[in-house]
């Protein structure tokens, strides 16, 4: 700002006022976000350490050490890890099939559009879709029973069922996240490796794999967080009990019978947000790292 050089003193107050007026423009946004995003998050953190009457206490946090909570946490981790690992592998494979396909882009546009829809697909409808396909009265179950194979749909309402159902949105999410990384792999690298005497195996081992490892790991972490935080699908599929942490939170929130337990939900939520935040932070760190290589 060269104009500030040598201006009368009165001028600067005007700049000062204009400066504060510019700030007025963002007040509604910050007020809204403060009230409906930061305040509730803050309440979770604070009330996790307090009694319903507002006295500080560690009893909510101590409740996290109870065996039923630890079991639920362990199951949540198993579920998230399994769906993230399987989802990442199959999603990466599907993304590779799309990228290596015809260059006209029809396949790619279709798969991206479908994956965009399915990655957001969850909750009641997804639970229903699986109940009516592999549940006790499901289409696949009945078809298999017709051919004499005896199957039941009970597994759908256990951890194994959740894993299969979660893959329905985890694989598409992986496709969406991993496609840009695969696009960043330049055909010149393959050709350069070949001209330097490298085989296909050498290319994958020395070039493609090291380059794709960070985005793959990042995507895995994103999928992990996504599964850990998912609630609606599990809630619609399993209406009672708390086999995983999100369902434990539901149980704690809706249990009006046990007095003094209200804030246990907050402690559980705090535990969840910590796990998810750590995974997401690592994810964005990995993303930034690989962005340098694969633009």
């Amino acid at each position: 700002m060269t104009s500030t050089v040598g201006v009368p003193a009165g001028q600067s107050t005007r700049t000062g006022r204009r400066f504060s007026l510019s700030w007025l423009g963002v007040v509604p946004f910050f007020a809204y976000v403060g009230l409906f995003l930061l305040l509730p998050t803050g309440l979770v953190v604070i009330q996790a350490f307090g009694t319903p009457e507002g006295q500080p206490t560690l009893s909510n946090i101590r409740a996290l050490g109870e065996s039923y909570v630890l079991t639920a946490f362990w199951r949540s981790i198993q579920l998230s890890f399994a769906t993230a690992a399987i989802g990442a592998i199959f999603g990466a494979l599907l993304a590779y099939l799309v990228v290596s396909g015809p260059a006209d882009g029809l396949l790619r546009r279709t798969v991206t559009a479908v994956a965009g829809v399915l990655a957001q697909f969850g909750g009641v409808t997804l639970a229903f879709a699986f109940m009516v396909s592999v549940g006790n009265q499901g289409l696949v179950t009945l078809l298999l029973q017709d051919t004499g194979i005896s199957v039941s749909g009970g597994w759908l309402y256990e951890l194994s069922g959740l894993i299969v159902v979660y893959l329905y949105f985890q694989i598409p999410l992986m496709v969406l996240v991993f496609l840009p990384a695969l696009d960043g792999v330049k055909p010149q690298w393959r050709e350069a490796t070949e001209s330097l005497g490298g085989s296909t195996w050498a290319y994958w081992r020395h070039v493609a794999a090291p380059l794709l490892a960070p985005p793959f790991m990042g995507a895995f972490l994103l999928l992990f967080a996504n599964a850990f935080a998912a609630y609606a699908t599990a809630a619609a599929l399993i209406s009672q009990g708390g086999i995983i942490i999100p369902l434990q939170i539901r149980a704690a929130m809706t249990s009006e019978t046990v007095l003094g337990q209200e804030n246990v939900a907050k402690a559980l939520a705090l535990g969840m947000v910590i796990v998810v935040a750590v995974a997401m932070a690592l994810y964005s760190w990995m993303q930034r790292r690989s962005a340098r290589w694969l633009q």
């Binding site: 330049k186 350069a192 070949e194 330097l196 070039v207």
Partner: protein
């Protein structure tokens, strides 16, 4: 220079190479022999087949017909990684997760050369291209010109039989392009390697190559020394594509052409009888004339003078015969300005006359 870098060049022969993409014929029976240690530039517009020729030589694509012979050995069916050819790409070909040194050493690593030895040789190659100080940088920490030098060092580190350059300068800005172009030529002469260079930039091709091949529609139109291709274009396409040309009515009889009353020698490929002479702007000189009412078809008025630095380009309007461009050193152009009358004279270089 170190002994290990020099190596006698080998002869490369492309015999009747054909390549089709669906209905498009990219390469229509290309014959080309590159002498040992020779630097040949393939020049042409995009889609002319020059890149296809290079990729077939590299083995990155399969020929639909014809043979590739390197050092007397038929390598047509050999995959790229068995061909032993160093290649420099348009851009972005450095492995982004490796330093410059690791990039250069990569080919040696694939050849199971020990770490100490390959680092020593990579260091030598980086010195050759003047990048010793940048050995530990990653691609994203280097400029486009530096990246291409590393790519050159990487291609040469494996002591390839042939060096292939696929428009290595096209992604760089003008200044870097000129200096790297000369750098590539210097290194090539130093190493003595047979080289094929593909470009759409005529200036690049003419400046560095021993011989220039001009390609069009999958065929080689002319192959010759840069001065030959520029001064005596063999076909209308070459005359049009390489440099600027004036088109003037002419009549050919024997080995002489009559161009608006001036008699000029012609090149062998010219038509006989009436046609159009293609004359380079720098083969046109101007003489100032006073009177306005001359009937001489070679006299006209100057309509534009454009100063291009060392040279100046002057446009003369000949009336019914159109406009003619003359190019001369700026010192000689000082006397002319817009509105002046001037008469054209031609330097006695052979010209090409084509069908009207």
């Amino acid at each position: 220079m170190t002994e290990s870098l020099t190596r006698a060049g080998v002869e490369v022969r492309l015999e009747g190479l054909r390549r089709e993409y669906g209905a498009v014929t990219a390469l229509d029976g290309l014959d080309l022999t590159i002498e040992p240690g020779e630097f040949i530039a393939l020049l042409g517009p995009s889609g002319c087949g020059k890149t296809t020729a290079l990729r077939l030589l590299a083995g990155l694509e399969d020929a639909d017909g014809g043979r590739v012979v390197v050092g007397g050995k038929d390598v047509t069916g050999l995959p790229t990684n068995k061909r032993d050819m160093g290649m420099v790409f348009q851009a972005y070909s450095l492995f982004p997760h490796m330093t410059a040194r690791q990039n250069v050493a990569f080919g040696l690593r694939l050849r199971k050369v020990g770490e100490a030895e390959r680092n020593r040789r990579a260091g030598e190659m980086l010195e050759l291209v003047g990048l010793s100080a940048q050995a530990d940088r990653y691609a994203h920490q280097m400029s486009g010109g530096q990246q291409q030098r590393v790519a050159l060092a990487r291609a040469l580190a494996i002591q390839p039989t042939v060096l292939l350059l696929d428009e290595p300068l096209s992604a760089l800005d003008a200044k870097v392009r000129a200096s790297l172009r000369d750098e590539i030529r210097r290194v090539q002469l130093e190493v003595g390697i047979t080289t094929l260079f593909v470009t759409h930039d005529q200036e690049e091709a003419l400046a560095v190559a021993d011989r220039v091949g001009v390609m069009n529609a999958g065929r080689l139109e002319q192959l010759g020394a840069p001065t030959e291709v520029y001064g005596q274009p063999a076909t209308p396409f070459v005359a049009e594509f390489v440099g600027l040309s004036n088109r003037l009515p002419a009549t050919v009889s024997g080995s002489k052409a009559d161009v608006l009353g001036a008699s000029l020698p012609t090149v062998a490929a010219s038509v006989s009888g009436p046609g159009v002479a293609l004359v380079r702007p720098e083969a046109v000189d101007l003489v100032a004339v006073d009177s306005a009412g001359s009937d001489d078809p070679l006299t006209g008025s100057i309509v534009a003078v454009s100063f291009l630095g060392a040279v100046t380009r002057i446009t003369v309007d000949l009336g019914t015969h159109g406009k003619v461009l003359a190019q001369m050193p700026t010192s000689q152009a000082a006397g002319f300005s817009t509105g002046d009358r001037a008469r054209l004279t031609f330097r006695p270089a052979p010209i090409l006359v084509v069908k009207a």
